[in-house]
Structure formats: C-alpha cells, structure tokens
C-alpha cells in the first residue's frame, strides 16, 4: 500500500510544480490540480477501507530515518484515515466548486488550495507539537489567501481580521509549545503523554497550548473573525473552512488532550457546551444564509468539543460518537455551502428558489436532518450513545444543555427549510449547473452512506436496514411515476406489511396496528383524488407509516426511539405540504423534537447506560429513578397526544394540512402517543413523586385537556380548526382513561383509539371535501350544503353522532364504559370536568353540521357538486364500520377486554351474546339501536306532517338587535355562533399557554439580538474578544486547579 506521506508529497509537489506548466495554460494547471487532489483522496480512501476492513493496521510513519520523539512522525489510524478522506474529498470538490475563480486566477489560487488541503491532512496525521504549529500556520495563511477568491469585496476585511486573530493564536501557541517542551524534553505528543511531568509551569504551558487550539475552533465568543469569513468567502471555500479545517482542528484538540490529561476535560466541556448553545441562539436572528451556516458550524464544533470533554465516560463509544458528529457535520455543512453557491440571493427566503427542483429539496432536507441528528444519519446514533453515557455518568446538566442546543438549532434550520418550501420563489433565483449539482449530490450520497455505515456497525440497530425504511427508500425511487400508481403501491405496501406482522401481535398492539396500518391504507384511498406526480408526498407519508410500523415492532428502547423520530420526520414533511402550514409545521417539529428529547432522557435514565435495553424491562428500573423516568416519558408521549400545555402545535398543524393529510396526522398519528403511554404504564405502573400519585396528575391533565379542548373548539370559525381542537379534547379523554389505571379505563382508552380514528378521519375528509368545493374552511361562509353534498352530510351526521357519545353509535358505548370506569376509580373532581366536557363537545359538533349543511345556501355555492368520489369512498367505509361497530362492539373489544383483564387480573364486564353487563348496569347495543330508530322515525314523521307550517326565510332577513355590523361576516348568524357562551366561558379561552411559549420564543430571540451586538465587526474588538476569552478561561481554569 502507498504511504500516506504521499498525500503531503503529492499536494506540495504539485503546488510547486504548477509554476513549470507556464502561466498561460490554466486549464492544464487546473487539470493537474484536480488530478493531485483526486490522487490524495484515493490514497486516503484506500487507507480508510483497508483499516476498516482490517486489511491494514494503524500506520506509524517515521520521517528522516529516525524514531520519534527525535524526528517528526505521522500516524494513520481509522480516525485519521476517515478525517483524511473527508479533508481530501472536500478539497477535491472545493476545487470543482471554485473552478471559475481558480481558472481566472491561474496557478496561485490552485497552489494555495493544494497547500491548504495538504496542510490540513498533515495536521491530521502529525504527532509532533511544533509540526502542529507549522501546519496550523500554513492553514491560516492559505485561508487568508483563499478568502480572496470571493467576489465580495468585504472578504478582504474578513481576511485581515482573521490574520490579526491568527497572530494572537500563534503567539499563545508558541509560548505554550516551548514551555511544554521545556517541561517534558520532547515535542512528540505520545512521548509527552507517556512521561509524567512535575515541572512547575507545565500546566500553564499546556493551558496556553490548549486554549490556542480551542480558539482555532472558533468558540463563542471569540469567533467574530470566523463568522465574517463564512459570510463573505466563496461558499466553495467556506465548505473547506467548515468541513475540513474545522474537523482537523477538533482532532488536534483531541490529540493534545491525551498528553494534557483528563483534568482539562471539564474545561473543554464547558467551553464546548457554551459555544454550542450560544452560537445556536445567536443564529436564530440571522437572515443571511452563509452567516447562519457559519454560526451553525461554530455551534457544531462546540458540540464535538463538548463530546471530547466526555471522552472519559464515553469509553469505546468515543470514536463512534465524536466521529459520527464530525462526519455528519462535515458532509452536511459542505453540502449546504455548495448549495448556497447555486442560490443567487443571500436571504434565507431566497432559498425558495430550490423548491422547483425536487432533488435539491431532498438534498436540503438530508443536510438539515444530518445536522440536527435525526435518523437514519450518524448524528442520531451518536446522540443516542452520548445521552446513554452522560446519564450513566450522572452528567445530566450537560445532556440537558446539549439537547437544548440541538432544539434551538433545529428551530432555525427547520424554519429555514419552511422558507424554502413555502416562501415565494424569486425569479431565476437558482444558478444550477452540472458540476455544483454533482458535488452537492455526492454529499447527499455520502450522508446516506454514512447513515448506513453507522447503523451497520456491530452492536447497533441499523435503522435503514428495516423493511419499512427500505420501502421508504423505494418510494424515493418511484417519485417520477404518477401519483395514482404510487398510491396503489403505497396502499399495497401498507396492507402487505400488515399481513406480514399482524399474527405476532398481542390484542392491544393489534388494535393499534389495525388503526395505523390498514387504517392508513383506508385514508390513502382519499389520495386518489390527487392528480399529477405529487412529488414529496409519498416518501413523507411512507416515512410516517414506517415510523408507526417500527414503533409497533420495537422491542428495545433504541428501536422505539428511532421509530418515534422517523415518524416525526415523515409527519413534519407531510404537514409542511399544506398551504399555510409553514409556522405550524415548525412548531409541530419543535414540540415533537422536544418531546423526543424527553423520551431520550427518560430512556437513558431508565437503562443506566446498558445497551440494548428491552422495552419490557422498563419495569425493572430502580424505585428511586422510576418516578423520574415516568415524568420524562409522560412528557414525551403527552407532547404527541397534545395534552393541554403542550398542545399549541396541534390546531395549526392539523387544520392547515392537506385534505388527506389531516386525517392521517389526526386520526392515526396521535395514537402513537397513546401507544407509548400504554407501554409505559403497563411496565411502570403507578409511581409517586413527593407523595403525589403521578397517574392522578395524568388524569387531571387528561380531564383539563378534555374540557378546555372542547371549550376552545366551540369558538372556532374554521371547520378544520374546530376538529383539531376537538382532537385535543378527545385525546384528553383517552389520557384520562389510561391514567385511571383500571380495567375499564384502559378499555375506554382502547375504544377511543378506534373511535377517534374513525370519526375524526371521517370528519376531516368530509370537511376537506367541502373545502375542495367551496375553497373556504370558515363555516360562516357556508350553509345549506345538505342538498348539494348529501353523502358528505351523511358522514358528518354519523360522525358527530358517534363522537358526541349519544346513542346509538359507538360513541355511546365509549361513554358507557367510561362512566363505569369512573365509578370504579375514585377521582371525583376531574370527573366533573370530564362530565362537563360532554355537553360542550355537543355544542361544537352541532355547530359543525348546522352551519355547514343547514340554513341557507350561499350564492357562490349554488353550482357546487358533491365531493370527489375518492374522498367519499373512505367516508362511506367509515360510516358502515361505525354502524357495524355500534351493533357489534364485541368484535374487537372482547379480545382486548380479555387481554386487559390478564394485566389487571379482573373481569368487570360480562359479555353475554350482544349485551355487555357491568356492576352498574348493562348495555345492549342492538336494543338501543332499535329504540333509537323507533324514536327517530316517529319524530321524523311528525316533522314531515307539520312541514306546511314552516316559513321560508330570505337570505338577508336578519335582525341585528341594534348591533352595528363592523365586518361583513358579523351579519351572518353563524359567525361567533356561541357568543353568549363566550361571554360566560371566554376566560377559559385566554391564550395562557400560547403566551407562555411565545414568551419563551421572544426571550430567546431577544437574547440572540442582544448577543449578536457583541460582534461589532471591528477586527480589533475581535482580537480583544479572543484575549478576553483566554483570560476568562485562564481565571476559571486556574481557579479550578487551585
């Protein structure tokens, strides 16, 4: 195998020899540069492959024919080879990205680029402290040169600021190196590490050395210079600056920490975490894309620095975690910078230009997911292992801060993604070409490949290798096909998966599986209405379903968490497709991620670092930890079920989604939270914290959600929002039922799982059909549609009967079990709330049917047709099911009842024929159905008989009772329909929760706005910041030592 020294020799030799090619043959020179970089990449990749496959051992390369520490030596192990491959490949692609500038400037620019890549590679390999200094200075000088390739004149200022700071770093570094040499008598890193020193001043020397290297990482706040470079340099170079230089700088800190000793690790952790969180906060206020990427880079380097600070507890996972984060960041950031080269505008919303090209959107999504650490990318695995190790070592504050930082980073990255998908696309905002697209896609492929590799490492669960995820990937490949064909494939995939797995499930899982998988297929029938190719819909939808499928399959914490995140990502992209959904999708994503992090922390706490940890071992958690695990997991699951307080994402997300997406995210996705709660309570049971029974707290939250959700629902003008708030209420019921911790409560909750899926999907589809025809969701703009859309009317009618819990439909069965369950439990106070929620629910449901379908037809609607047939098909299936389920609830419930009985060890219900009896009474669905039918027919006949008394009312025959109509809609009776109730209950509507979360957001933004003023643009101030940073850290560190 070729020696890795050749990487240095080829880089340097070519740089030197370019001058021999003559200054006019620029194409030839460029070709030579590319060839050299390709050769350097090839050597790195060959070594990487050989080391990973075990074909080669870690190489120690001696120079000058002498052994270290007397001559400089180099090392190439797996970490080095991986970094070398990253660096050289980034360099190769950077040359392509910078081709126009390099060809214009000729030899000089190419030589500088070659030297830069050579120097970064050297920095990765070298084991000699002073050699580190030489390479760092080479990198600094080459950076100052390449910054000038930018067409932005401000780059000159940025380069100068960079040089000024570089001088300060060099001074600190040299003083540190020489005193380290004095103390150890050696410049070799391994030699210093192996030799104990007692010389006074060694610690201080090491401090100067380390702090200089840390400043190279552009840590907050000593990083104004770096941000200016990111803003003004050519993005092709910024990619190198972030991906290659940044990664190598991290590796150097890692190398030097070994001789410095473990006592420096807390300091690095502190600096890293501060840098990560603060940079992400400041990034919230950025609107220039490259500056934002700069802040993100700085933040990510801080994150890895914090990970380096955890190497004492990470053990063998250290390389896996740090490497996963570094490589993810390098690939994603390089890719984003290369994309930025193609986007003409510099504002974040100028990225809307990429929307026209689906592959670009895929690339953007891939990079953002990699940065945030979502599955299936390496950052996800790294985050998981890191959390396990941190919790096992008791470093919860570090974990909390890191997760906070990730959340903030997700906030601005996904906001940006929302801009790209939803904002108005500028004319000719994209200058795409083969080369730039090519290198961007190389990064995309690298990202997915890394995801595969990180999953395939022994001892890990490869998320990508599961059947549902492979199906998602297949749907990426199917994208060019028409939507209808893809829809058939999607339905087939769901049903196929279900037939494959349903035999293995216990009755409870089976109920969830039926709702999620075939249930999803039924809703997908509605998607046949869509024409065209519907790019992006199917991969997102299938990702969501894959997440749900894997959730049911999960046996370990990790599998569960991975499935949870996949489901979240898929549903985020689905929700984002809605017309006005940009802010709502973002808040959905943030709440989901926040909830997921609560799960992550909860799982880590429960497993205590043991991997893999089976889900059904959750019950073995020690008594002192169990309540905390309970709290964290409940928060995570309740975020998904949108319990009051964590609900503000739901109304917008569900209401603004597309017609066939609303039922998916409402009818199906919410159940994932319930599933989680079931699993948790089944294993953990009742827990109490400070004498408070936590299940009672859950019951209270459920009752409050049920009541307030209903109250909020009655005041909505938008039909889909009304349904969305109603979901909060319904999930509140289910939560309450589960939290009762008795047989009937759980049965009730299971009943809600089925019922809520059916009627909420049905109602969303019905309202969606109306929206398709009327183009409005505001109820007061409709009316009298009963004659034009009779089928839709029927499904709404059946839906609201079922939902309001009046006989004869299954909702009543739910209520019946419910009241029995409450009688069993002793919770009287929340019980009152739950009771009150019933009639309130009736109010909004009444409004739904009354305002839309009854009353007078509006003029613009006279020509309307019935909703598209494919929207009606699933609705009619649901109608048939509801009626059947009402008559024969025993079909599904009896089995579940038996199963739940096996958990609680009791059997409060007696199933005899078609009647069900409990100790408080009995319920005979068939008899009820007959009674209701008789009453209904009698009343109907009486009404028909008296019909001649009815008086037709003209459209504008409305009395205002001396109220002046301020807006046109105030003339409509259905606007502010429940005004009297609003007067009475309006205080309940006060947006306390919204204001709270709004306050959190404003606070963060305010902090960001304040902090960024620190970066005043003056090179001297930046230099002073660096000094301030050094002195501050010095005082802290020395205080720590003393």
């Amino acid at each position: 195998m070729v020696s890795p020294v050749l990487i240095i020799a080829i880089g340097l030799g070519t740089a030197f020899a370019l001058g021999l090619l003559g200054s006019s043959r620029k194409t030839l020179q460029f070709g030579a540069t590319l060839t050299a970089l390709a050769a350097m990449s090839a050597i790195s990749v060959i070594w990487l492959v050989a080391l990973v496959t075990g074909a080669a051992q870690t190489a120690e390369i001696h120079t000058a024919g002498a052994v270290p520490p007397f001559a400089i030596n180099l090392r190439v192990g797996i970490a080095e080879a991986a970094l070398l491959a990253t660096v050289t490949l980034t360099g190769l692609f950077a040359a392509l990205s910078l081709r126009a500038q390099l060809l214009k400037l000729g030899r000089g620019g190419m030589a500088v680029l070659l030297v830069l890549i050579m120097a970064i590679s050297g920095l990765v390999m070298t084991r000699d402290l002073f050699n580190v200094f030489v390479f760092i200075e080479l990198i600094a000088i080459a950076t100052a040169g390449l910054v000038l390739l930018s067409e932005d004149p401000r780059a000159v200022c940025a380069g100068f600021k960079f040089l000024v700071v570089g001088q300060i770093i060099a001074i600190l570094l040299l003083v540190g190196i020489i005193f380290t040499y004095h103390a150890n008598g050696s410049l070799n890193i391994d030699d210093i590490a192996a030799t104990p020193v007692g010389v006074q001043g060694a610690a201080l020397a090491m401090f100067l050395l380390l702090i200089a290297l840390v400043i190279e990482l552009k840590t907050f706040p000593a990083n104004g210079w770096a941000l200016d470079i990111y803003t003004s340099a050519h993005p092709g170079f910024s990619a190198v600056f972030s991906a290659a230089t940044g990664s190598a700088a991290l590796f150097i800190v890692d190398k030097v920490v070994a001789p410095a000793g473990a006592e420096w690790l807390p300091l690095l952790t502190g600096i890293g975490v501060l840098s990560f969180v603060a940079s992400n906060v400041v990034a919230l206020r950025q609107d220039n894309d490259r500056r934002l990427l700069g802040y993100s880079s700085v933040g990510q380097l801080g994150l890895v620095l914090a990970v380096i600070g955890q190497r004492d507890v990470l053990g063998e996972a250290y390389l896996y975690v740090a490497g996963g984060l570094i490589l993810s960041h390098a690939v994603a950031k390089a890719g984003l910078f290369w994309m930025s080269a193609m986007v003409r505008g510099r504002n974040l919303d100028d990225w809307a230009a990429i929307r026209a090209r689906a592959p670009m959107v895929l690339a953007f999504a891939t990079f953002i997911a990699m940065l945030v650490g979502l599955p299936p990318f390496p950052g996800f695995y790294a985050k998981w292992d890191l959390a396990q190790a941190l919790v096992a070592a008791g470093r919860l504050p570090v974990l909390a801060l890191i997760l906070l930082g990730v959340l903030i980073e997700a906030a601005y990255l996904f906001r940006w993604f929302g801009f790209a998908i939803k904002r108005e696309a500028p004319e000719k905002g994209l200058s795409a070409n083969m080369v730039d697209c090519g290198i961007t896609f190389a990064a995309v492929i690298a990202g997915w490949a890394l995801g595969w590799i990180w999953g395939a490492i022994p001892g890990q669960h490869n998320v990508l290798a599961t059947l549902p995820m492979l199906a998602v990937l297949a749907f990426f490949a199917l994208e060019p096909l028409p939507a209808k064909i893809k829809n058939v494939a999607a339905i087939g995939a769901l049903l196929g998966w279900f037939t494959l797995v349903f035999g293995d499930y216990d009755p409870m899982r089976l109920i969830f599986a039926v709702v999620m998988i075939p249930g999803g297929a039924v809703i997908l029938l509605a998607s046949f209405t869509e024409t065209g190719r519907r790019i992006g819909f199917y991969p997102s939808a299938m990702a969501m379903y894959a997440g749900l499928a894997l959730l049911l399959e999960a046996t370990t914490f990790f599998e569960f968490f991975a499935a949870w995140e996949i489901m979240t990502i898929g549903s985020y992209f689905l929700i984002l497709r809605g017309k006005m959904s940009e802010p709502h999708a973002l808040s959905y994503m943030l709440f989901s991620l926040g909830g997921a992090f609560a799960l992550l922390a909860g799982f880590a706490l429960a497993s205590g670092g043991i991997q893999p940890f089976a889900l059904n071992q959750l019950g073995t958690v020690g008594a002192e930890l169990a309540p905390w695990v309970f709290v964290l997991l409940s928060i995570g699951f309740m975020t998904k079920t949108a319990a009051m307080g964590l609900h503000i994402w739901l109304p917008g997300a569900h209401a603004e989604a597309e017609t066939d997406v609303s039922p998916m995210v409402s009818g199906i996705l919410l159940k994932a939270g319930l599933f989680g709660l079931f699993l948790m309570l089944m294993e953990l049971g009742r827990q109490s914290l400070w004498g408070v029974d936590l299940t009672v707290v859950l019951a209270w939250i459920g009752a409050i959600s049920a009541f307030l959700g209903a109250v909020l629902s009655i005041f909505q003008e938008d039909a889909k929002r009304l349904l969305a708030y109603s979901s909060i209420s319904q999930m509140g019921y289910a939560l309450f039922g589960i939290a009762l911790m008795n047989h009937l409560g759980w049965l009730l909750a299971m009943m809600f799982v089925i019922n809520h899926y059916v009627y909420k999907s049905m109602l969303f589809l019905a309202v969606g059909g109306v929206y398709k025809r009327t183009h409005t969701k505001l109820m007061y703009q409709m009316g009298g549609l009963i004659t034009l859309m009779p089928f839709t009317f029927v499904s709404v009618l059946v839906g609201i009967i079922a939902m309001s819990g009046v006989p004869p439909l299954s909702g009543f069965g739910g209520r019946w079990i419910f009241y029995n369950a409450i009688m069993d439990a002793g919770l009287r106070l929340p019980l009152i709330l739950i009771f009150m929620a019933g009639p309130v629910g009736f109010l909004y449901l009444f409004r739904l049917i009354h305002t839309i379908f009854l009353g007078q037809l509006k003029d613009p609607h006279r020509q309307l047709k019935e909703a598209p047939v494919w929207l009606l098909v699933p609705q009619m299936i649901f109608v048939a099911f509801l009626i059947g389920f009402a008559v024969l609830p025993g079909m599904a419930l009896q089995k579940v009842d038996g199963y739940i009985g096996s958990i609680f060890g009791d059997q409060p219900l007696v199933w005899s024929g078609r009647a069900i009896a409990s100790e408080f009474g009995y319920w005979n669905p068939v008899a009820i159905m007959v009674v209701i039918a008789v009453i209904f027919v009698s009343v109907f006949l009486i009404l028909i008989a008296k019909n001649h008394d009815a008086q037709k009312v003209k459209q504008f025959n409305i009395v205002f009772s001396a109220e002046r109509p301020y807006r046109p809609e105030t003339t409509h009776f259905a606007w502010n329909f429940f005004a009297p109730y609003r007067k009475a209950l309006g205080f309940l509507e006060a947006p306390v929760v919204t204001s709270f979360w709004g306050g959190v957001t404003d606070g963060l933004n305010g902090t960001a706005e304040f902090t960024r003023r620190f970066y005043n643009g003056n090179g001297q101030s930046y230099a002073a910041h660096v000094l301030l940073f050094v002195v501050a850290v010095y005082l802290i560190a020395m205080g720590g030592v003393a």
Binding site: L12, G13, A66, A111, V112, V1031
Partner: protein, 233 residues
C-alpha cells in the same frame, strides 16, 4: 473601539500568566533527552557538525518543508492580492527619476558579492551557522538592492518562477527518495554521509540547503517584486 483601560487590564492578567511562567522557569542543567540524542547522534546519523542545521533539514525536515511552503504561499498570495487590487495602471515605476550613476554602479558591484556571500552561507550551512534560509534571505537582499537602486528595471518573472518551482519540486522529490532508498521521508541518508566536517558531507543536507536557498531566495524576490510593483511614483 475598546477602551484602552480594558485592554490594559486584559494584558495585565495575561502578563500575570506569563509572569507565573517566568518565575517558575528554571534553566535545565543537563540537556534533555531529545537534545542529548541530537548531540550524541549528530555525527553518526546526519553527519552535520552544525546540529541546528541537522535538526532543521533532517530530523525536523517536515517542519522545514512546511516553512518553505509558508514562503511559497505568501509569495503566491501576495501576487494574487496585488494583481486583484486594481493598483496604478501602466508600468509602475515608469515615472521614477533615474537613479544616479553612483548608486547604479555601486549596486552592480555589490550584488555579485552579495550573491556570492549568500551562496557561501548556503553551502556551509551544515558546518557553520547559516543554511538555506539565511543564505536565501541574503540572495534576496541582493535582489532588493537591485530593485531599490534601479526601480525601473524589470526582473524576469518567469525565471524566478522557474527557480521557485524547480527547487520546490526537487525538494519534495528528494524527500520521496529518502522514503524509497533510505529510512523515511526527507532522510538525508540517500547520499553517503562522507567525511564529517567537510563541505561535501552530511548526505543530502548540502543539496537540500541549496534547494532551500534557491527557493527562499526566489520567494523573497518575488514577494519584493510584487510589493515593489505596487509603488506609486
């Protein structure tokens, strides 16, 4: 602007750190293990009486290669910076007053001597204080003198470029040769060590010194020339 007081306070605190270093410093009484190794093996391993040159060219040869590259980079970047900056158009220096006879003649007499001295310093780098860098700098000072004395005179850019490229490439090749036939990259043992203390000894050190000298001289000259061309009349 940052108040000077704040800067002073920061520097005082940094000064305190330095003071701690200074106070805690005790000079070694014995050579440390690295230096002792060099002292003991200078003759047998590199064959250079001037141990510093032995270290620079061989043991820490990679540093030196980097060092040469620093100058290479600097000269390339300065050329880039200045070529882009849209300086005064036309031939710069064209408006200078002609230099006096005395100055021109004096310079023409001195330049060969300076070059000769530079060559001497380079060739004796492994024996006496000196070496490629020092000699290269002396060579460039000859160029500087010529530039100052005759501002209108143009030097062959191409020639300098060729020297720069060739010497650099050869340096790398010699390094690779060390890997192929001796103990590693940049090992000076590709040539026989020869008689200790003579001009043609110490393996490849004199050769490398010459290449470094040429390279450094060429880089400095090209930097000086680039800077010179920015000068307004």
């Amino acid at each position: 602007m940052i108040p000077k007081v704040l800067i002073s306070v920061l520097l005082l605190l940094l000064g305190y750190a330095f003071w701690t270093l200074s106070v805690g410093y005790a000079p070694d009484t014995e050579l440390n293990r690295t230096a002792a190794y060099y002292a003991a093996n200078a003759e047998s391993e590199v064959g250079a009486p001037n141990i510093v040159t032995g270290i620079i060219v061989t043991w820490r040869g990679l540093d030196t290669l980097g060092e040469v590259t620093v100058l290479f980079l600097t000269s390339a970047i300065i050329a880039l910076v200045l070529s882009q900056s849209g300086g005064p158009s036309g031939v710069s220096g064209a408006d200078f007053l002609p230099s006096g006879e005395l100055l021109t003649t004096g310079a023409r007499m001195l330049v060969p001597l300076i070059v000769l001295f530079g060559a001497y310093v380079i060739m004796n780098g492994h024996l006496t204080p000196g070496g490629g860098f020092q000699g290269g700098a002396i060579l460039a000072s000859g160029v500087l003198m010529a530039l100052l004395a005759e501002p209108t005179r143009r030097f062959g850019h191409t020639a300098i470029l060729r020297i720069e490229s060739l010497s650099g490439s050869f340096y790398v090749l010699i390094g690779l040769a060390g890997m192929a036939i001796a103990g590693g990259f940049l090992d000076n043992g590709i040539l026989p060590l020869g008689q200790f203390g003579t001009m043609l000894s110490a393996g490849a050190i004199p050769l490398i010194s010459v290449l470094i000298g040429l390279k450094v001289g060429a880089e400095f000259s090209s930097i000086l020339q680039s800077l010179h061309e920015t000068e307004d009349a």
